[in-house]
């Protein structure tokens, strides 16, 4: 566990106070990020986000057919899993990342596993009372430079935008028996219903009396309390979770929620715009019969 000296702590806290952080950003400035979708061909959808000079998250989405749950027989579900690779930090070697994996998995699952995630779960059901699609979201943290949870949310939204579910054809065998067939045609695959409503997370770190977004690793060490707020495009709040080991005054908290809502809105707008632009470019290339090259790790930062 790295420690922060008192001098470093004071430097960061004073910086937050005067709205100028160590890397020249203001309190509410985000770092530049690199985003690309569709880089894992074996997944139904994928995206990689690299934030600033280091946080690297790769999300793969796979859809699989499974039996429906007996107590909810007309819906499919979303299952999230987050894994920190030791390439991000030596602390994650062996079982070192288990606690963090669990914390991030639960945070993601809480927002995306329920109705607040906006995906139409009923459309994921293939035959009522029998089979449904299960959407597995696997996020991998490959490199670490602060603000992991927000990056995961962003990469997940992008990967779900990129996800296509194969179409199914249901045959009525009579006697109330049904059978279905998965159509192999890639062109026929559909996008998930309701992805425009998927929320993203905004984490606010309280340092001293101020709060900042998109904290760097040193700023995270200096954080007294952090608040992750999930917001969707209609500026509804889809989840709040406090982290770190300090308290927040109620007045400051409602101020933080307002800030998060505002920032979340503009982030979602920018993200949607970029995703649509990228898709348009890919579609154009496909129409012209050009080869679609994915940059992956070869993208310039």
């Amino acid at each position: 566990m790295p420690y922060l000296s008192q001098a470093e702590r004071d430097y960061i806290t004073e910086g937050v106070q005067s709205d100028l952080r160590a890397d020249g950003r203001g309190r509410l400035d985000y770092r530049a990020l690199v985003l690309e979708t569709g880089i894992i061909s074996q997944a139904n959808g994928s995206a990689r986000v690299r934030l600033g000079d280091g946080t690297d998250v790769l999300v793969g989405v796979k859809v699989e057919i499974d039996q429906v749950e007996p107590d909810a027989d007309n819906v499919g579900k979303v299952v999230c899993n987050v894994e920190c690779s030791p390439s991000a930090s030596q602390q994650f070697e062996g079982h070192g990342a288990d606690d963090l994996n669990n914390e991030l998995t639960q945070a993601l699952q809480r927002v995306l596993g329920g109705p607040q995630c906006g995906i139409n779960f009923e459309k994921l059901c293939i035959i009522k009372g029998q089979q449904c699609w299960i959407v597995y979201i696997d996020a991998m943290i490959l490199d670490y430079s602060g603000n992991v949870l927000d990056t995961i949310f962003m990469a997940t939204k992008a990967a779900l935008f990129n996800t296509r579910i194969p179409k199914t054809q249901i045959q009525d065998l009579g006697d109330g028996e049904f059978e279905f067939e998965v159509l192999d045609d890639v062109e026929d695959a559909e996008r998930l219903d309701g992805i425009e409503n998927i929320p993203i997370g905004v984490t606010l770190n309280k340092i001293g009396t101020g709060h900042i977004i998109d904290a760097s690793p040193l700023e995270e060490l200096c954080t007294e309390a952090k608040l992750t707020i999930a917001v969707n495009k209609d500026s509804q709040i889809c989840g709040i979770q406090k982290g770190a080991e300090g308290g927040i005054e109620p007045g400051l908290m409602s101020e933080m929620i307002q800030t998060a809502k505002r920032i979340g809105q503009s982030l979602i707008q920018q993200l949607d715009q970029k995703l649509q632009d990228e898709e348009q470019q890919v579609d154009e290339k496909r129409l012209n019969g050009e080869n679609i090259e994915k940059l992956g790790f070869f993208a310039m930062v």
Binding site: I40, Q42, D53
Partner: protein, 234 residues
């Protein structure tokens, strides 16, 4: 349907390659910020990321070797890397025969973390190549590159660099890692049955593949270094 035709009568393979042809290889070093050295390699559709930490203090004092460094390898497969999603446990199966000048770092440890992002056959060879690149990136003195390649045998025809489809259809697969400068073999592993008469031709084909890979990796390393030099000169 009868067995999938892996070799057409014209001698072409399922992905259109000739028997002695490698898949497209692209690699890049220094892709991660936290690690001391890192590399990313794509061999066809197999994608591997490697990170190297060290040389550094040994974490478990029990393991200290007084005359050289210990090498610790952790191997991890992403759940979305194969066509069927599954959660796999971590294992250290691929403790490969990487050739380092470990005697320069007594009582220390070098960690290599391998992450398979996409699996399409030849994971071991891609891991070895990625680890080599990451070690070079970390600036750890090495005797030579360690280049690995696979070769198999389909219908008595030796073929180079099997993909997942060829790998999973019961064809034997031999992985060879060599030190290209001396031609010494570092690793040779096969977990399937191959007629002994074929072994020599398959092994020599794999060795040939290793040499080709060496040229490609060397070009990447030199290119990166040149780039670095240029930016320093400015």
């Amino acid at each position: 349907m009868s067995r999938l035709e892996l070799l057409t009568p014209e001698g072409l393979r399922v992905d259109g390659r000739r028997p002695n042809e490698l898949r497209k290889i692209i690699a890049k070093t220094s892709v991660l910020a936290q690690a001391d050295g890192s590399a990313y390699i794509e061999q066809g559709n197999t994608k591997v990321l490697a990170a190297v930490y060290g040389p550094q203090e040994v974490r478990h004092r029990m393991q200290i070797l007084h005359d050289r460094a210990i090498i610790n390898v952790e191997f991890n497969v992403a759940p979305f890397s194969t066509s069927e999603r599954k959660k796999r446990s971590k294992n250290d199966k691929y403790d490969n025969g990487i050739k380092l000048q470990t005697s320069q770092f007594p009582r220390s440890q070098i960690d290599i973390y391998l992450q398979v992002l996409q699996h399409d056959g030849g994971t071991l060879q891609a891991c070895i190549n990625a680890a080599t690149m990451a070690l070079i990136d970390a600036g750890i003195p090495m005797i030579d590159y360690v280049c690995a390649s696979t070769a198999g045998c389909i219908d008595k025809q030796p073929v180079l660099d099997l993909n997942y489809l060829e790998e999973s259809s019961d064809s034997p697969e031999l992985t060879v890692a060599i030190l290209p400068r001396t031609g010494k073999v570092n690793l040779m592993s096969m977990e399937s049955r191959l007629h002994v008469d074929m072994l020599e031709s398959v092994a020599s084909l794999a060795t040939e593949g290793c040499e080709q890979i060496h040229t490609i990796l060397d070009a990447v390393v030199r290119d990166t270094t040149q780039h670095l030099k240029d930016s320093l000169m400015q």
